[in-house]
Subunit: 395 residues, 2 copies
């Protein structure tokens, strides 16, 4: 049994009744998770943009990052902000919604309408909390594949995403090579590094150290570990930027004052900025989801599923790849992307690789970086020609 329904905008409960279309997968369609659990029922909240063509050959799946969601190119129902990838997706954009049918679904384990730890467990009538099974990047991709099938699409023209989204792109290409015509992994890696695991562990410990976390059962207890989650977000946020960008944007500038206050106030602009990042994040994100999604990233090691040889993950692939990295990204470095590209070369794949010079750090994939826009446009247009998709109408 599969039902699709859209609910009205209810920011208070985006978790169970999101303001996005939802695909519900009943007992006949369980999600087989890597941990051995069969999750059922479950639902996937998603957004689409543009129109699926008659041949169903123009679908682009966008995969979101750790703290992203399905609201790629529309106003966010909770924050009221623009979609997180409007530089990339929309009419006339590189992933042109007048040409392509763009899908983005909230990942399994998240909190914007797809089943996750904040969702009600039908067996108990209470949120799953940390009784929710631990999920992996492969589980996210399995769920997306079920959604894509549900939408009647056999092959995706492109799978694209940055960071955790890029991990999903690589997993898609490995798990479903015949369903991915082209793949655009950005600012990502085939495995999570020790340093990245370390930063995630700090974030998880910050959440778990908050007594309002209540061993994960905060929702049932009417509380929220907001302080712990804000600290986790602040630490993570530093890693998304680069030292040169922090220096350029903030340096040692004082916040609305001429001299230090000799106190623990936010004297420096960077302090004030980080506190704001922490505060605003907790308004839209579930703390347990943060634990689950960071864990999924930590567990990601694509080569491990192929005897430790990454090239085997892509053996025989006919997918066209374009890997993108940023010079100042110290979370997912060019060296990590180069390792992916080498494996693709070893597998005989069609692959191009672009390292973009920028001081904007890991967050560059979300920003209006002209070389990223141009690279994506070039790659998508060439792939569309190869796929026999009509060129965009002349202006």
């Amino acid at each position: 049994m599969i039902r699709t329904h859209a609910t009205p905008h209810t920011p208070a409960n985006e978790v169970d009744h999101p303001s996005s279309p939802v695909a519900v997968f009943g007992p006949d369609k369980p999600l087989a998770l890597d941990c051995g659990v069969s999750l059922s029922p479950f639902q996937i909240a998603y957004q689409t943009y543009g129109t699926l063509n008659a041949a169903k050959s123009n679908a682009v799946l966008v995969c979101h990052a750790l703290t992203g969601d399905q609201h790629v190119a529309n106003v966010h129902p909770v924050t009221g902000k623009n979609g997180w990838w409007e530089t990339m997706i929309g009419p006339g954009r590189p992933i042109d919604t007048e040409r392509f049918f763009v899908i983005c679904s909230n990942v399994i384990g998240a909190c914007m309408g797809t089943t996750g730890p904040a969702s009600l467990d039908p067996a108990t009538g209470e949120p799953y909390a940390i009784r929710f099974p631990v999920v992996t990047i492969r589980d996210m991709v399995r769920a997306q594949a079920m959604l894509v099938e549900h939408l009647g699409i056999d092959t995706l023209f492109c799978v694209a995403g940055g960071s955790m989204g890029g991990m999903q792109v690589l997993q898609w290409a490995a798990s479903y090579p015949d369903k991915v015509f082209s793949a655009l992994p950005i600012a990502t890696a085939a495995k999570h590094s020790a340093q990245n695991i370390a930063f995630h562990e700090v974030g998880r410990q910050a959440v778990m150290a908050d007594p309002e976390w209540k061993a994960g059962s905060y929702l049932a207890n009417g509380s929220r570990p907001e302080k712990g989650l804000a600290v986790a977000r602040m630490a993570a946020h530093i890693t998304y930027l680069s030292e040169p960008a922090l220096h350029r944007k903030f340096g040692r500038k004082l916040q609305d004052r001429d001299a230090p206050t000799f106190s623990f106030d936010a004297d420096f602009e960077i302090e004030s900025y980080l506190r704001y990042q922490g505060r605003s994040f907790v308004e839209r994100f579930d703390a347990n989801s943060y634990l689950y999604l960071t864990r999924a990233m930590d567990y990601f090691d694509l080569a491990a599923d192929y005897g430790g040889v990454l090239a085997r993950a892509f053996k025989g692939t006919r997918t066209r790849f374009c890997g993108v990295s940023f010079t100042s990204d110290w979370l997912f470095t060019t060296a990590e992307m180069r390792a992916v590209v080498h494996a693709l070369n070893a597998a005989g794949a069609l692959v191009s690789f672009v390292e973009i010079e920028t001081d904007k750090g890991h967050d560059a994939f979300l920003l209006d970086v002209p070389e990223l826009i141009d690279t994506t446009r070039g790659f998508i247009d060439a792939a569309a020609r190869a796929r026999g998709l009509a060129a965009p109408p002349a202006e």
Copy 2:
């Protein structure tokens, strides 16, 4: 009134009755702080090694880092571990205690016997907590200068230290140029960067988010913000290492297991290691001291006191300098040390500069890095000759 006394080893109260000699400065010797407060009375806990020569020309002042203390070259009274710089200081070491009289004092604001937020405020009979005035690197150096005078020493043969200790070295050379014959700043900078301020702010917010912090008054309330301080330490600890070192030491190795547990246990060795770092730190460190000392580092901007021109801080100096940086230190980079060296050059100072190739990150200054040992030995020996100090006895 100045008294010097040593108390027996009492690990439970190293704060007020440390197992180190203590110099007590009474109402006639207040410490004039940058914030405008005159701190009185106050005490400084310190260790010495070796013997002061008759000319009092062989004294070396060692300045400790954020979480260091005066126990440079003896077993630590709380942890039972060896001194934190035994690679560098001791008989036959580069700073040879058979040749030099080595002094290290706990900084003002810390918690191992020098007056800080955990000390009893004589005005209230309770710990100062956050009523303690905010201190600066210059305040730390002012207090050290009072100790050095108290010990009857006019000129220091050398002032040496890494990280926050290196900031004190630079401040000593600027504030008391005639009292510093040679200076060895290691892995440090003349100002704290935006990224470093950001990481410190995360640590402070982690402490303050812990309800056991109780607006700073935890000691009077019989509690301690151990979880928050542990998170702060974990985040900071990552920044002391380098990505290559983390990769080499931990990579994605699992901790005492063959497969992931699909849980939030410490599956990875790096997680287990970080949790240990957090736990062990809180046993020996006061949370409020962590707030004060990180703040002092954030406020450090030596050039700001000299019209923004760093070279002016060293105008006319006759001190011999040796600046040391490490290739993989991303907290205090070679570029930061180079800026110090350029300023010293512009001031016409005698300065040498060594960038040491290592993957050990910021922590390299504490470790047995052969090039660091050799550099220090060479610099100290040459300075000793220039100072007319006898060569070490032949073996």
